[in-house]
């Protein structure tokens, strides 16, 4: 936590994006989280991704529930729409907002408590309905605001700061998201922005329910030996299956690859995600294989990261409901009411 606002001064060479904003223009208020909190790094990654995508801040709606993670939308995209909802109820609010105005970019920020405990039902239905959004869980395996109890994502056998061993099975958010039909599923680590920023970019561009589980160490209560969500543990057990290096039409190729090293995924809008393979034979478009692979690696104690699953021909709730292209909140009475002549005609047809 810092009392001073971040000085407005910036590096003299700080670049502007296509719409004339610097990265600093996408920042929010100064964070009041603990120093070193992984969540702040995720906020910085969101800032970077939105800047790179040339997103107009007023086109983003950021929504959250309750918890350390759910405070973070205050700390990024200070010029975007925000909604801080009831604990665990962010998915419902996003669903409603998305139905009312399909033109905004929806960014749901939640934590392991907000999504895996009180809001697990909300999370489930949001995923299976395919609400077009990016759902980020800032996952630290611990209840930070109430001083360090295990959360529902804490691994069985991991130790609390006081030395107590967790006896409960963890809720596997990635497994749930896959099972429930999320069409973009990724896991990353707050301490690895090189991996996280491209994933956020791709997820924002994805149509349908995109879910990123970001392991985000709690420096105050879950960064000790025995924790499986500490900086050190995650770095040691991080097994990235791929690196998202390139999104066609958006950024430049950063490296040359030998043939066979690349997986290309063409999305609904024709854009191509170029993934550098790190695990041989890993196919992120085969949901059954992905689920098996993740179970196997998890049994080995590894934390698998990267773009784990993507459904190229994804669809979203609006498509399923066959809504009109015009956002519903822009439909006026003229559009919605067919008029008495039409009513007469319909009634006549039914007589």
């Amino acid at each position: 936590m810092t009392y001073l606002a971040k000085p407005k001064l910036h590096h003299p060479t700080l670049a502007k994006n296509q719409i004339g904003y610097t990265r600093r223009d996408y920042e929010g208020a100064i964070s009041t989280l603990c120093a070193g909190c992984g969540h702040d790094s995720i906020s910085a990654a969101i800032v970077q991704a939105c800047w790179e995508l040339d997103i107009e801040p007023h086109r983003v709606a950021k929504l959250s529930g309750i918890g350390c993670s759910s405070k973070t939308p205050t700390y990024f995209l200070g010029n975007s729409h925000g909604f801080n909802s009831v604990h665990g109820r962010m998915p419902s609010v996003v669903t409603g907002a998305n139905l009312a105005n399909r033109e905004l970019i929806y960014l749901g920020v939640s934590g392991d408590g907000d999504s895996a405990s009180i809001g697990i039902g909300q999370f489930a239905h949001c995923m299976r309905r395919g609400v077009n959004m990016l759902y980020i869980v800032e996952n630290n395996g611990v209840y930070g605001l109430t001083k360090g109890q295990f959360s529902a994502t804490a691994d069985k056998g991991s130790k609390s700061k006081r030395g107590v061993t967790n006896t409960d099975e963890p809720v596997d958010m990635i497994g749930l998201a896959l099972m429930l039909g999320a069409t973009f599923v990724a896991r990353s680590f707050s301490g690895d922005k090189k991996q996280l920023v491209p994933l956020i970019r791709a997820a924002i561009e994805h149509r349908g329910a995109a879910f990123i589980d970001v392991i985000s160490p709690c420096v105050a209560f879950n960064n000790h030996p025995g924790s499986t969500k500490s900086y050190e543990f995650v770095r040691q057990h991080n097994e990235a299956v791929n690196r998202l290096d390139f999104i066609e039409g958006r950024s430049e190729i950063t490296a040359d690859y030998a043939p066979g090293e690349i997986v290309e995924v063409t999305q609904h809008d024709g854009s191509v995600l170029r993934l550098r393979k790190l695990a041989p034979d890993y196919d992120p478009t085969n949901r059954v294989k992905v689920m098996n692979y993740l179970q196997e690696r998890a049994a080995e104690g590894e934390v698998v990261t990267g773009l784990l699953y993507i459904k190229p021909d994804s669809a979203d709730l609006h498509q399923y409901l066959n809504t009109v292209d015009t956002p519903l909140n822009q439909l006026a009475e003229r559009d919605l009411c067919p008029g008495s002549v039409m009513l007469e005609r319909i009634n006549a047809a039914l007589r």
Partner: protein, 606 residues
């Protein structure tokens, strides 16, 4: 890159750009903080120990610190006009508002150490030697041809820039240390002075000869052609009180600026400065040019003097050849005539301020002092010792015309040499500076310095009404900051001496510092050679005059690399660091002056 060794005093000293650039290495941020705290006397004393003449320098310094000031780089592309902190004028704030500090000055010891030192010339270099040596018990005698002490400080700098009271006050602090001043005593023979048995002689007689301009008409029109520095000192002495209505000043240095502005006050209505070079290359400080132009004095450039025009033995004007600058492959400038017709300017008087030269007619060439091919004494740059071991040179007399702050720096160095020499030590063994590095942490988010960076632009020093200043040569033009604007300007200082100190073994690489840094100074990356590393940082580090602060390999094998260039020293990296790997620590470097501290430790123990 190898990890940075912050134990070498130069590393953090360089980060304090202003102090590094100052010839006397005045701890600038230290005194600026004291000004902000309203502790003017303390701020004055920090200056007085370091640069001896805070009130004088606060009005007249060449301020090498200001172009170096980090604030100027930080504001680039952040404000319309990037400007450094007004360091020089803040020095004046300390001098203007200080309480009586006489009780805090050193006292001359009752018992002298039996050593006698002669200083030739009573300018800033000699007075610094006297200030450093007199409190140690040396009997210092200062000779000057003028009846007053101060040298060029009072004879060449006009009163409207530097009032007499300010000079008197600071010169008297030194003479009050039981320093003997023999004014009106011209030294005509070094050999004779050497024969008087002084243990050491310091020569700080300045560069007293103004360069003349030998073009046709010089002799015939001599009555209305004056050499700048001689004319300025005649004005200071009160021998000259008027000048013609139309005046041409030749030359582009600070003396030329003093000449033209003085002319404006002595009856010159139509005063212009004419220089050979381009306006940008003029030697005068930018602010002195501005001050002159503000008084309605045009500066005409690329005009080479061709002839003084005279009628019946009276100067009527000057002709100039129009030139342009051309640079050869080596970047050397050549002035090429443009072929346009010569330009003629009418005038009543001409002031020639085209440079100063050293002159040592009073040093016999068989006195043992070696001179080089340009007639300059052979002087060691570090010790200021001449080829006669107990004769030292300093100020303009040593290496040609510079400025007051360089003279002070020479004075300190020469005093160290004299003290060591007379204690039987090797003068070439120079004392290390005194250095301390202390954490400024007072609480979780509390620091013992104000880390909230001011966004204000540089404050303008108010001027007195021109109607008053152009009438009377003794009326000071600048009013100086009042306490309120002095505080506000002091708050612009970034506290570059409060260093970001990194302890790699505490770092957990959480990126918190990277995320919070407003200037993108910090990067965690794979190590590489410096040139490569500079390109790979979060913000490119193109200013190679500014160091990279590089850590040892961290747990992931990466290193921390911080570009010092535009760091705000806001301490947010340290506030956001969960493990205390970053800390803000005040680096205070004080030069070691003459006295027991400058002597070798072995002798101290004995």
């Amino acid at each position: 890159m190898k990890p940075t060794d912050i134990g070498v005093p130069d590393y953090f000293h360089k980060v304090v750009d202003c102090q590094w650039a100052c010839p006397a290495h005045t701890p600038v941020p230290e005194y600026i903080r004291l000004i902000a705290a309203g502790r003017y006397g303390d701020a004055y004393m920090v200056n007085w120990w370091s640069n001896v003449f805070p009130g004088i320098l606060g009005r007249t310094c060449d301020r090498p610190c200001e172009p170096a000031c980090r604030r100027g780089r930080v504001e680039e592309r952040n404000t319309e006009k990037a400007e450094p902190v007004a360091i020089c004028r803040l020095k004046r704030v300390a001098a203007d508002y200080k309480e009586d500090i006489r009780g805090r000055l050193p006292k001359a010891p009752k018992h002298k150490n039996g050593r006698r030192v002669a200083c030739v010339g009573a300018g800033p270099a000699s007075l610094t030697v006297a200030r450093d040596l007199a409190p140690l018990g040396y009997k210092v005698t200062v000779f000057d041809q003028d009846p007053r002490a101060g040298g060029m400080i009072w004879s060449q700098i006009p009163r409207f820039r530097l009032p007499m009271e300010v000079i008197d006050e600071e010169v008297d602090y030194i003479l009050g240390l039981d320093v003997e001043f023999r004014g009106g005593t011209r030294i005509d023979s070094l050999k004779q002075l050497m024969a008087e048995g002084y243990d050491a002689i310091f020569i700080g007689c300045g560069a007293p000869r103004g360069r003349d301009l030998d073009v046709p008409g010089r002799q015939e029109a001599a009555a209305n052609i004056h050499v700048g520095i001689d004319w300025l000192s005649s004005v200071s002495f009160g021998h000259v009180a008027s000048i013609g209505k139309r005046v041409i000043v030749l030359g582009g240095g600070n003396t030329a600026m003093d000449c033209c502005r003085t002319s404006r006050r002595l009856g010159g209505d139509d005063v212009k400065v004419i220089v050979r070079s381009g306006f940008e290359e003029m030697k005068a400080s930018p602010w002195e040019k501005e001050d002159a132009m503000h008084e309605g004095i045009p500066i005409l450039n690329y005009l080479v003097p061709k002839a003084f025009i005279h009628e019946n033995g009276r100067l009527t004007g000057m002709t100039f050849e129009k030139v342009r600058a051309e640079y050869d492959a080596k970047g050397r400038r050549k002035l090429i005539p443009t072929g346009e017709p010569d330009q003629h300017f009418e005038c009543d008087d001409v002031l020639v301020a085209v440079g100063q030269e050293n002159a040592f007619p009073w040093i016999e060439r068989d006195a043992g002092i070696e001179f080089d091919q340009w007639g300059m004494p052979v002087v060691d740059k570090a010790t200021l010792q001449s080829t006669v071991p107990n004769v030292f040179f300093g100020g303009d007399a040593a290496f040609g015309p510079k400025n007051i702050i360089w003279a002070v720096a020479h004075g300190h160095d020469a005093a160290v040499s004299i003290d060591k020499l007379l204690n039987g030590e090797d003068v070439h063994e120079r004392p290390a500076p005194g250095v301390s590095l202390v954490s400024q942490k007072m609480g979780i988010h509390e620091w013992s310095y104000d880390n909230d960076v001011s966004l204000a632009n540089r404050y303008q020093v108010p001027w007195r009404d021109q109607k008053l200043t152009l009438k009377d040569i003794k009326v000071e033009v600048e009013l100086g900051f009042d306490q309120k604007s002095g505080f506000a300007e002091a708050q612009r200082c970034l506290n570059c001496d409060v260093q970001t100190v990194f302890t790699g073994k505490l770092c957990i690489e959480c990126d918190a510092c990277v995320d919070i840094c407003p200037m993108d100074c910090i990067t965690f990356t794979e190590n590489a050679e410096e040139a490569d590393l500079r390109k790979r940082l979060n913000a490119p580090a193109t200013d190679t005059s500014q160091d990279l602060y590089v850590s040892d390999a961290l747990k992931t094998g990466r290193i921390m690399a911080k570009d010092e260039d535009v760091c705000l020293h806001c301490g947010l990296c340290a506030e956001r660091c969960p493990t205390g790997a970053w800390d803000m620590q005040k680096f205070l470097l004080q030069m070691t002056h003459a006295g027991p501290a400058c002597r070798t430790p072995a002798r101290k123990a004995a």
